[in-house]
Amino acid sequence: MSTRTLESIKVQIDEIVEKDIVPHLEFWEQERIVPFHLINNLGSKGIIENICREPDGFDNKLYLAKKIGKLSLGISSTILNTLNIPLYLLRNYANEELKQKYLSPYLQGKLIGAVAITEPHGGSNFINNCETRIKIYENHVELSGKKHFILNIPGADFVIVLAKSGNGNILSHTLVLVPLDLIDSNGIFIERIQTSGLHTAALGIIHFNNVLLPKEYVIGRLHKGLIYLENALTEERLVGTYALMSMTEEVIRETYSYVNNRPMFESKLADLQSVRHKLAELSAEYEIANLFLEDVIKQWRAQKSRDSSTKAAMAKLVCTQAALKVINGCLQLYGGRGFLHEYKISRIYRDALGSTSFAGTLEMMKEIISNRKI
């Protein structure tokens, strides 16, 4: 693709950010509105289609993550969740019929998807303890169970559900697409969770009571669900962490500006050595983590290897810890103001605390790393 189109996608993204997001952001955050319509805006400008197209698509997705991540972790969760796993699964594994029905409008931003893996009794445990079951019949499948803490629920038009289809551990999970347009009539029930932070994202619980679906709604082959998810989860970790690091950088930038402007009588906060040293230390934490993330992303894109997915787990661990430390440390420098709603840092602090366990907790990252490396 020529550099011109590449540039123009970034320009389009900038435009959406400046015109469609920035002016409304505070209102949405305050009123806890999830701006699903942004997906439509992205789609109608060809951005969703573009991010699927290599060689530049992934770059543009990262650019989007960076631009939106630094504004709101709630909105970036909503958008990136839509553009990551559901889209990946549809593109790579759905049959032609599903693609016709769902992928084409998805690329135009006319549909919103969700992916449901986690269950109420333990999300870290989804391989061994998946209680959502799918029974396979000749022409249809039957789904029963409950999924917990699912992004874009309520709001999504369909959800791709991981369900147990066999008795073993590895080749015994199947992914199935469940349309959500007929909610009441077909045994599906949804609740929204009131979350502390991430107020511009929807997180919910979804119940399936003997839901009947045509067999064509199975994604890819039976029993292969976990394999399909593996790469998708790695990518979700990388892109989500990229957005978090963008927010972290923004927090550092704003805090530098705060300490340089908050007057301390004849001097300013930044004149205090301990304030300068603190910010230097936090900047160092950020730099180390962020450059590591960028390297890992490069390696992942080039190889999609097991080693690079292990590094992705490392990057998520290191970056999340750095981000929390930086955001917490910057909050402190605001004194009492850091807790007031009028100051953006109070929202970012709550959002960041909430985002540590998406796509696997820090302990699960350690499990992945230690199982493979030690």
Binding site: N125, F149, Q194, F265, S346, L353, S357
Partner: protein, 382 residues
């Protein structure tokens, strides 16, 4: 410090009051973003608002160890905001009025506050900053015949939105010396006074406010203690308040660990309770040891208060260090709740938002280190 049977009896008394009046309301007050007036009325009726004040002054004449019990019991029910609203009175407003107030002040301010008929607040911090009071206090009282005329602002003042009586630190002399400020006892209900509530992300049940005084008239006899000695008196009572806050923080952390143990005993990974994984057990064991260690320094400082002279160096260490330890522990406990930590107002969500403020109010960690590192802490090793 040793606990006696009277402590046990007191604890039982406190527990039953908390169970009856406070525990059932914690969520509602949090949602309302304020404790109600009735809280103080009830505590006043039970004579809990003047714990360490002499009986002649209407208090109970107990020592600081009883305040520690009260704090511990409030932390057990995760009522940090409520505790802040109560403690600011118990540890600063009431002792200042009782120790330094004249008879008029005792009658008009101390008595109604101890009885729970009026709500008190301590107004020190200003918009220009709370850390360096010598420089930041601009709020001014000028003497006009038989009155003080007050002008200026106070910010972040706990209980201000519901307070009837304030202890206000004001400039009474045009200099930057520590002897240029006074404490005034101020009624809030007159012309020239206004307050608006500030809304925050933690300790929601303790309302804070931004106060404006506009040519506000205060009777001449409302000076607490010696004129121009206000700063010294405030600094003095703040040591106790800070010490209590540090203790509250680790009590909350201990409770958070209990919650985490409970939670992880019911969660499974590969067929085994998560609590039984080694990494979790080791980590929590480390935290429990830290908390036990913290209790010794708390007891040592409590002893010093009981003997009549607070160990200022260690009281300051308790404020910044224990609050930071507690914050780190609770943040990890929050992470160990996985997605359940994100439920708004869940136990661990509330505890984390609430504990975070403890490292800032009543003197931020940095300010504590800044001034204690010059003389106070080194003096321990001379």
């Amino acid at each position: 410090m040793t606990y006696s049977v009277t402590h046990t009896i007191f604890r039982e008394e406190i527990k039953s009051i908390i169970d009856k009046y406070i525990k059932p309301n914690v969520d509602r007050w949090e949602l309302n973003q304020s404790v109600p007036r009735e809280l103080f009325q009830i505590l006043g009726k039970e004579n809990l608002l003047g714990l360490t004040i002499s009986r002649e002054n209407g208090g109970r004449g107990l020592d600081i160890s009883y305040t520690l019990i009260l704090v511990e019991e409030l932390m057990k029910i995760n009522a940090v905001g409520i505790a802040s609203s109560i403690l600011i009175q118990l540890n600063t407003v009431v002792p200042l009025l009782a120790r330094f107030g004249n008879d008029h002040i005792k009658e008009q301010f101390l008595t109604p506050i101890i009885k729970g008929e009026a709500i008190g607040a301590l107004a020190v911090t200003e918009p220009s900053g709370g850390s360096d009071l010598l420089k930041s206090v601009k709020c001014q009282a000028e003497r006009h015949a038989d009155k003080w005329i007050l002008n200026g602002e106070k910010m972040f003042i706990t209980n201000a939105p519901i307070a009837d009586k304030l202890v206000v630190l004001v400039k009474t002399k045009n200099s930057q010396s520590p002897l240029s400020m006074s404490l005034l006892a101020v009624d809030t209900r007159k012309k020239g006074y206004s307050v608006n509530q500030l809304f925050k992300i933690g300790q929601k049940s303790s309302p804070i406010g931004h106060i404006h005084f506009d040519n506000y008239e205060v009777p001449i006899e409302n000076v607490i203690g010696k004129l121009n000695n206000g700063y010294m008196m405030v600094i003095d009572v703040l040591y106790e308040e800070r010490f209590i806050i540090g203790y509250g923080a680790i009590c909350l952390a201990k409770e958070a660990i209990k919650q985490t143990i409970n939670f992880l005993s019911k969660r499974f990974y590969k067929g085994k309770e998560i609590i039984n994984y080694q990494s979790i057990r080791y980590e929590l064991a480390e935290y429990l040891s830290k908390i036990e260690a913290c209790k010794s320094i708390v007891n040592a400082v409590a002893d010093s208060i009981i003997k009549g002279k607070i160990d200022r160096a260690r009281a300051t260490i308790i404020k910044f260090h224990l609050c930071e330890i507690a914050q780190q522990i609770i943040q990890r406990c929050h992470q160990l709740h996985g997605s359940y930590g994100l439920y708004e107002n869940s136990w661990i969500d509330k505890a984390l938002r609430d504990v975070r403020i403890m490292s800032v109010y009543a003197g931020s960690s940095e300010t504590m280190k800044d001034f204690a590192s010059v003389n106070l802490i080194p003096s321990l090793y001379r």
